[in-house]
Symmetry: C2
Subunit: 152 residues, 2 copies
Amino acid sequence: MKKIATALILAGCAGVVFAQQGPKPEDLIKWRQSGYGFMAWSVVRIKSNVEGQYNKDEVVQAANAIQAIANSGMGKLYAPGTDKGKGWEETRVKPELFADKEAVGKVAMAFNKEANEMAKVAAEGDAAAVKVQIGKLTETCKGCHDKFKRKD
Amino acid sequence: MKKIATALILAGCAGVVFAQQGPKPEDLIKWRQSGYGFMAWSVVRIKSNVEGQYNKDEVVQAANAIQAIANSGMGKLYAPGTDKGKGWEETRVKPELFADKEAVGKVAMAFNKEANEMAKVAAEGDAAAVKVQIGKLTETCKGCHDKFKRKD
């Protein structure tokens, strides 16, 4: 009887039990897609500034967002069980990302380095230097996508 | 004949023409949903640190991401034409957000203030203070959701 009561209480507290177990894989996938989505906006903004009228404040805002997201430890969003499944949409991560940690570390370090440099260059406010740096940064995005993201 | 040729060339360059016109409303909606999605992860991380084992570095990463996104000028993602439509999902923004600029300014300023304070408190590393501050911050999230986000 006590066991049944306990089971009922646990069922009623599913939310709490869940919270103790940590987020679901679909949440992790959604959150990483969110991070890339917000960085996509930030890249678009920086590019549109260097190609059109340059607004230092806007470039700094965008570069700071990229830097903070890049340094937020997104690797945790690739926990076991997140190799397949739907966040905002079906994940396009390739199995290689979970198998080749050394290669992942390399692309992640390259991206972080250029993201940190992007924030520094943005703060200096030289549009020509920002144009060069956004090119270097997006090369590291592409480097990771080519290796670890399906094109479908 | 020249007109037809020009029309064909323009049709072929639709991507370029689009790029000059700026992002589509559905992109703006997707990007703002991404910003909130990434901040949701960051809030979950901070809460799980103050309720469980405390890791200063993780809290700083999460708080810095919230701060940078909060200060990125997300107001631009609420351009005309983004009151309805689908980004990652159908927007749940209420019409009031586009009508009552004074009220929007108030909730946005309250949120930014607490997000900046959150980053400061996280850097100091006092778990009890972080617990108080994440409470203040999420109150400002709720304040905006209550006014400007549909519950469906």
